[in-house]
């Protein structure tokens, strides 16, 4: 046999190389990875990210925070990191009902609210329920402990469901159900994590089945990525500060988060690439459909999921949940119930409960207010009634023109107003004791 020359062997090897490169490129072009890359590079989405999941799915209550968890969080806008911060702990009680600090208190208060009651201004300053605790201690001279069971984006009914279960074990003297205007009419929501190659998107739905069937839900603007650490944030902010924005956007951790969110928004909840060896023509069909605009048309035509989180009317809530039974159980348990309206900034400014921020029409809004009044003896206690000497509005919230998150001054104000609002209830409780 005639031996092949080294030159010929080299040419064959180069040809094979070329075939490999071309094959891989064709595969890439036809695969969904190419689509995913496009999605990342054209992303206009904004979402919050966490280095670790701050909550766990809970079949009974939708989701529950993890009080022992510290994590990095930040905001990504249009594919770029905007800010980062480290949260050292969450407010959800990290002790049980038998803890001496709870049992030994003269007055035990359990607060069930939303984001406004949960968030600490600047991540460090006390939240308004913490200020309320201090203010009540000052005013009453009693030892007061507030357990804050607030969760972001939950409505009145979901809080009532949690309160009815927790109160049995915790036996608070006072239960504060906080109404935040933009959220109080929200249906109960379940949140589950859907992992896409080490990065998770948060899927929300009004059914617990979302945990096993994520297609039932919608993707919340929240992404979990364990690679998003404090150090990663520092290096991102550093390269941006020296003008290397494009390099920052090229980072694999950032792109994985953006990709996961964009893929989640497409409603697939799994990687576009469902097994890299499974090349089949469906990729080609998908590719052609999406490049011909067929998918956009398909998305526009599709019906929104019936399990999409939304508001409901009081009557709808009543038909699904026996609110009177729940409320009576709370009252029979010996707790004083206070439904407290914590105003949004314009409501504080105008001293009124403004329906336009509730997402409900006026009859629906009024029906909720009447319904809640009927549920409780006391009706709704409005913080705005106690706000006689308001500080400069600009010091109460981050930005009166849009960012209504409370500042440290605002949280202190709300805490003091809440304490004033509760005093009558506490006096009743004290006289009972």
């Amino acid at each position: 046999m005639k031996a092949k020359s080294p030159r010929r062997r080299l040419i064959v090897l180069l040809l094979i190389c070329l075939v490999v490169v071309v094959s891989l490129e064709i595969y890439f072009r036809l695969s969904a990875a190419s689509e995913q890359r496009e999605l990342v590079e054209s992303s206009s989405a904004s979402f919050v990210f966490y280095g670790e999941a701050p909550f766990v799915f809970d079949r009974r209550h939708g989701f529950l925070p993890r009080p022992d968890t510290g994590y990095v969080t930040g905001l990504i806008v249009r594919g770029a990191l905007v800010n980062c911060m480290e949260i050292s702990s969450q407010q959800w009680p990290d002790y049980g009902p038998d803890d001496p600090s709870w049992q030994g208190a003269d007055l035990r208060i359990a607060v069930f609210g939303g984001a406004q009651a949960l968030l600490r201004p600047d991540n460090r300053a006390p939240s308004w329920p913490e200020h309320m605790e201090d203010a009540l201690e000052d005013r009453t001279g009693s030892r007061v402990t507030v357990a804050n069971f607030s969760r972001p984006h939950v409505g009145f009914v979901q809080n009532l469901l949690l309160a009815s279960e927790i109160s049995e074990e915790w036996q608070p003297h006072v239960i504060v159900l906080v109404l935040e205007t933009d959220l109080f009419a929200r249906m109960p929501v379940w949140r589950s994590l859907q992992w896409i190659h080490g990065t998770a998107v948060v899927v929300e739905a009004t059914t617990p089945d979302v945990a096993s069937d994520p297609v039932l839900g919608t993707v919340a603007p929240v992404v979990i990525a364990s690679a998003a650490t404090t150090q990663w944030c520092h290096s991102q902010m550093h390269v941006q500060s020296v003008g290397l924005d494009e390099l920052a956007r090229r980072d694999g951790v950032l792109r994985a988060m953006v990709g996961a969110y964009e893929v989640g928004r497409l409603g697939r909840h799994t990687s576009l690439v469902h097994g890299w060896m499974d090349f089949d023509t469906s990729f080609l069909v998908t590719y052609l459909m999406e490049n011909s605009g067929a998918q956009d048309a398909q998305q526009e035509d599709s019906e929104p999921s019936p399990y999409r989180p939304r508001n409901w009317t009081f009557e709808q809530a009543l038909s699904e949940v026996d609110l009177y039974l729940l409320m009576n159980a709370l009252i029979d348990g010996g707790s004083e119930i206070v439904v407290l309206h914590a105003p949004l900034f314009p409501e504080l400014d105008q001293g009124a409960f403004l329906p336009r921020y509730s997402g409900l029409d006026d009859p629906q809004f009024n029906s909720w207010i009447e319904g809640i009044r009927d549920l409780t003896d006391e009706g709704i206690v409005h913080l705005t009634r106690f706000s006689h000497d308001l500080p400069d509005p600009a010091t109460v919230v981050n930005n009166p023109d849009g960012d209504w998150q409370l500042t440290p001054t605002g949280a202190r104000l709300y805490g003091e107003l809440a304490a004033a609002a509760l005093i009558a209830t506490i006096d009743d409780e004290a006289s009972d004791q």
């Binding site: 090897l13 990875a33 480290e86 390269v239 694999g252």
Partner: protein, 476 residues
């Protein structure tokens, strides 16, 4: 058999081809990232906004204010520091400030250290370099306060170094305690000092007669050379032989401690053409420096064998999928260890300090957030640019290896002053002590060393000397 060998050859060729493709792709990616950085650098240089270019900046006359020290990073240059103040391509004024002293510290020592009856070494950072309204640091105030209380001569040497932490201070203490035989050693730092890496400072040339400051994560090499590029960070501060007495002869002289109003009144000065050329050269060097990234920014291991960049490009659309391409190991990032015991040099330094038998205290200076949120005096881990686990681990390990507690000074702050924490710091964003804060900090340090068990014996001995002095008969 022939088919077998042919198949084997084909498979081998394919495998080799894949390896070649992977290697080629890695080379391409490396070049692509470097080109991207270079392209953006150029854009950054062009896009330097007017505000940055027009900002005021100083250029020092030689010698540089920082003097390389191979043992613990740097000292401050002894003598006066002369500088010219510029704004854009214009000169505003010249100035002269009191620089380092014979110990390499900032400021003037009020007393002769060796003649003093009681000698204290004080280690800190920029938090303990700031002064009260009379230009006195917390260490200066402590010296006066102790003298007033005990009627003895005290000398407190303030070895505070900006941008340094506990690692550097223990390196210093290890070297200086045997040399200076102090009676007491005080370490006083804010939270971020827990995580500071060691760094060394030296000057490198920009042009023939302009140098710039460089921070290094390791000492100069045996040949005096810089460490590898990823281990040093060029800084914008400049020193130049072009800053001469001839140049300053044409410019107003700034007072020692200019007021805000005096600074605002400064305007661009008309200079003779030969001096204006000098100023424009300094400005040009400044522009060049500002346009450079201050630290190596890329950190991708293109030689790693546990990952295929081709694979991730094909499967996930991104060769760097889920890995960071940015350098996390900058001088600004905190330590990546959670235990000082993992640092052999630190362990040696702590052992040396313990063996010296000199009493020492570890004091924690509160930031604004801590003043607002921790009345009881707890360190708010995770709020100083160091992640919570690292911060907690470092405090715990510091207490373990030294056998001493790290004390939060806020518990000794005056109650009246606690009502307005913002008054005690520079601003919401800057927790360095304000002039008022420096005074309150000093009082807290004095209270701390009078009650802490670590210093109790030392303090009681001073009290006893005071009693003996008050009662001459007992002294006899």
């Amino acid at each position: 058999m022939r088919h077998f060998w042919n198949a084997l050859l084909l498979i081998g060729s394919l495998a080799l081809s894949l390896a070649v493709v992977e290697a080629g792709y890695r080379l391409y990616l490396k070049h692509d990232l470097e080109a991207l950085v270079e392209r953006q650098r150029t854009q950054a240089e062009r896009g330097l906004d007017d505000a940055t270019v027009d900002a005021r900046f100083s250029v020092y006359a030689p010698p540089a204010p920082w003097q390389y020290n191979e043992h613990y990073g740097y000292d401050y240059q002894q003598g006066q520091w002369r500088f010219v103040l510029l704004q854009g391509p214009n000169a505003l004024a010249c100035g002269q400030v009191t620089g380092g002293n014979e110990f390499g510290n900032v400021g003037v020592e009020q007393h002769d250290y060796w003649e003093s009856e009681i000698r204290i070494l004080f280690f800190g950072s920029s938090y303990t370099q700031v002064t009260d309204r009379d230009g006195r640091t917390a260490a200066d105030l402590l010296e006066s306060g102790l003298e007033e209380r005990f009627g003895l001569s005290f000398s407190v040497l303030n070895f505070s170094r900006d941008a340094t932490g506990l690692l550097t201070s223990f390196d210093m203490a290890r070297l200086l305690i045997p040399q200076l035989s102090p009676d007491l050693v005080i370490f006083a730092f804010n939270g971020s000092a827990l995580g500071y890496r060691r760094h060394w400072r030296t000057m490198v040339p920009v042009t023939d007669n302009i140098e710039r400051l460089v921070f290094m994560l390791e000492p100069l090499g045996a040949d005096g050379g810089l460490p590898p590029p990823e281990r040093y960070v060029p800084m914008p501060q400049m020193v130049s032989q072009l800053v001469t007495t001839e140049l300053c002869a044409h410019l107003p002289l700034l007072p020692d401690h200019p007021t805000q109003a005096e600074m605002e009144q400064l305007t661009a000065q008309r200079l003779p053409p030969e001096e204006q050329v000098v100023v424009e050269r300094l400005f040009s060097a400044r522009r060049q420096i500002l346009a450079e990234p201050q630290t190596p920014v890329i950190a991708v291991d293109f030689g790693r064998l546990d990952r295929s960049f081709v694979f991730h490009r094909i499967v996930n659309g991104d060769p760097y999928y889920a890995i960071s391409i940015l350098n996390p190991n900058t001088i600004y990032s905190s330590l990546d260890i959670q235990d000082y015991a993992a640092d052999p040099a630190m362990m040696e330094a702590v052992e040396a300090v313990l063996e010296s038998g000199i009493p020492f205290v570890l004091l924690h200076i509160p930031t604004l957030a801590e003043m607002r949120n921790s009345d009881a005096g707890e360190i708010l881990h995770g709020t100083h640019g160091i992640d919570q686990a690292t911060s907690e681990g470092l405090v715990a390990s510091m207490e373990r290896i030294t056998g001493q507690q790290m004390h939060h000074l806020y518990q000794w702050y005056d109650d009246d002053e606690k009502r307005d924490p913002l008054n005690l710091v520079n601003s919401e964003q800057d927790s360095h002590p304000s002039p008022r804060g420096t005074l309150v900090l000093y009082r807290a340090i004095l209270r701390a060393i009078s009650v802490l068990p670590e210093t109790q014996e030392w303090f009681n001995a001073l009290e006893n000397r005071l009693e003996v002095a008050d009662d001459p008969e007992e002294g006899l």
